[in-house]
Amino acid sequence: MPNIVETNNLIKVYGKEVKNEVLHGINLEIKKGEFSSIIGPSGSGKSTLLNLLGALDKPTEGNIYLNGYHINELDDDELADFRNKNLGFVFQFHHLLPEFTSVENVLIPNWINGGNTEKKNKERAMELLSLVDLEGFEHKLVTKLSGGQKQRVAVARSLMNKPDIILADEPTGNLDTETSTKIYNLLRDINKELDTTFIIVTHDRHIASKTDRVIEIIDGNIDKDYKNNPEDEFNNFEQVAPEYCFLCGQNIIK
């Protein structure tokens, strides 16, 4: 299986006068269709890595290849175009546009891509909303939806342009356990059905324990990278990398 994500010796330095190296040479390969998580404490560099994997930022050194594109070589507009066509984003705070309805929010990536009011686009958006179980909420302003519903709209939106990679940044960060599980299951179903590659950035070990691969980032380096079997009955969040279980003993799941 080909690598859909490939980085070699990725270094990211912030600041011009006071230099702060956040990533110290990340080498990462992710295969198409993988359902993996990146986990690490805050300040570990996982958000920086996500920005790079999301083509929102460029590395200071090293190369990054996404879906066959050499990201280093693209300019701002080409990056924007690349994100629109190849990537789907699900953010912690859903980040929907409050001025638009659910179905319009789902359609926005298509509109950005030059899509118009064509019926088939709208039909697809409606289908995606029913896939995330939001039938009947299509024409409501997103401000009228609950947190879980908003996040499901965001998931539907990330699928609109049929991206090959979906990046999820703490997708269940501000949701309760039950809703989190629903969203997680939804992402999982999409992964199985559409063979979409998922990279979930989280500090929630419970979520990480349900992915097929866990990549642990600590202090700007990949500390651990291992296969995980979510079906394993002994598998629980405390056993995911117990030696780096910096949150163990704290009640992180309400």
Partner: protein
């Protein structure tokens, strides 16, 4: 473009109070601009019309001649010289008339013989200006035929036309006869065929029209005439055309209304410039208003902009969203402002009338001026939006999306 327009529209709609306030600002600005502009241009048009409407724009006169010494009485102690200016006429006037008729920008040409004299009836003796004309040609300037209030327009033979004031003063009716004595002392009897009202008390009081041929014999002008009166298409070209005539013909003088009304024109000019300055400042105020509202809006919408960018919206398109907002505000505001400006002008005309019911102030609502106002306000809106557009384009999506 459709997508940018859609987002711009939704952004404006989501901040209703803000949008309405700035719209109101633009409406007030454009209303003032259009009302003021229309009032000033109306007043000026009216003033110019009064000055040149029914009067010649250019008058071709014989060249002023240096006074020649007539009699020289010289003795041992003194020298007495009597000067006489030659009251000459224009000799080759048909040639000039033909030339003028060939010019595209000349609308009326009327060769005239002028003279002064007295109209005498019974005990009364009034000073008059006798004007020998060709009625068809003079109508192009004075529109005499349409302004005959009594009798008919006949100036053949000894028939003459007199003004209403003179007719009242001398109690003359059509077909009455009247004696006219010229300043040269020649007297003759004429028949009043019609009475005109040219809208000016002074003219109605003193002017008498007769045929140019009759005037020629009355004043002994032979083949000469006193002057040629001209009206032209564009009244403000009078200087140029007058100069052109003087270059073409010798021994004549062409006087333009512009040169004879220099002071009036200067006054109009300064009125126009002060009105223009007020309008410019109104536009600047409106532009600053739009700019400040949109600058705030960029901050308010920074999260949305970040999301749109993360999802692949290019810098330029994000900027366009704000330009469109500026254009929508400018266009809507100026359209409504134009309507309210026209409404205010109409209201003004309706409520400021003199006793006869005529509007006190003439207001001309010029469609070109309104379209220009709308175009300027819309461009000002876009110009105002260009600063926030630039700052929105610079916004980094990473900063926005990782912060709630």
């Amino acid at each position: 473009m459709w997508f940018e327009f859609m987002v711009a529209w939704r952004f404006l709609k989501s901040n209703k109070t803000q949008t309405l306030l700035i719209l109101l600002g633009i409406i007030v600005g454009v209303t003032v601009q259009i009302f003021l502009g229309s009032l000033i241009s109306g007043l000026q048009t009216d003033l110019i019309n009064q000055t040149v409407g029914s009067s010649p724009h250019i008058t071709v006169l014989p060249e002023d001649q240096t006074p020649r010494p007539l009699v020289i009485n010289e003795d041992k102690y003194s020298r007495i010289i009597t000067f006489a200016g030659n009251e000459g006429g224009i000799n080759r006037w048909q040639e000039i008339e033909n030339y003028l008729n060939d010019q595209n920008d000349v609308t009326a040409v009327s060769p005239t013989i002028d003279g002064s004299g007295f109209a005498v009836r019974g005990q009364k003796n009034l000073p008059v200006v006798i004007r020998g004309i060709d009625i068809n040609k003079a109508d192009g300037i004075y529109n005499i035929t349409d302004n005959i209030v009594k009798g008919q327009t006949n100036i053949g033979g000894n028939n003459i036309l007199i003004g209403t004031e003179l007719a009242n003063e001398l109690e003359l009716q059509p077909n009455d006869t009247i004696k006219i004595t010229t300043s040269g002392g020649i007297s003759d009897r004429f028949i009043v065929s019609g009475v005109f009202d040219l809208g000016s008390k002074q003219l109605n009081n003193s002017w008498i029209f007769m045929s140019i041929r009759r005037a020629s014999t009355l004043f002994n002008f032979n083949d000469q005439i006193s002057n040629i009166e001209i009206q032209i298409e564009d009244v403000f070209a009078s200087d140029r055309i007058a100069d052109q005539i003087m270059v073409r013909f010798n021994q004549i003088n062409a006087e333009s209304w512009q040169r004879n009304n220099q002071q009036l024109l200067t006054a109009l000019q300064s009125q126009s410039s002060s009105s223009l300055i007020i309008q410019i400042f109104v536009i600047i105020a409106v532009t600053l208003g739009i700019a400040s509202v949109l600058a705030v809006s960029v901050v308010q919408k920074s999260r949305q902009i970040g999301i749109l960018k993360a999802m692949g919206t290019k810098r330029k398109r994000v900027g366009t969203i704000f330009l469109i907002q500026g254009a929508i505000l400018g266009l809507t505001g100026s359209l409504l402002g134009a309507l309210s400006g026209i409404g205010l002008s109409q209201l003004f005309i309706t409520f400021t009338r003199d006793q006869s019911g005529e509007p006190l102030f003439p207001i001309t609502v010029d469609p070109t001026f309104i379209i220009i106002s709308i175009v300027i306000a819309t461009s000002a809106g876009m110009l105002a939006a260009s600063i926030p557009a630039r700052s929105s384009a610079k916004l980094n999506p990473i900063e926005v999306i990782h912060n709630a």
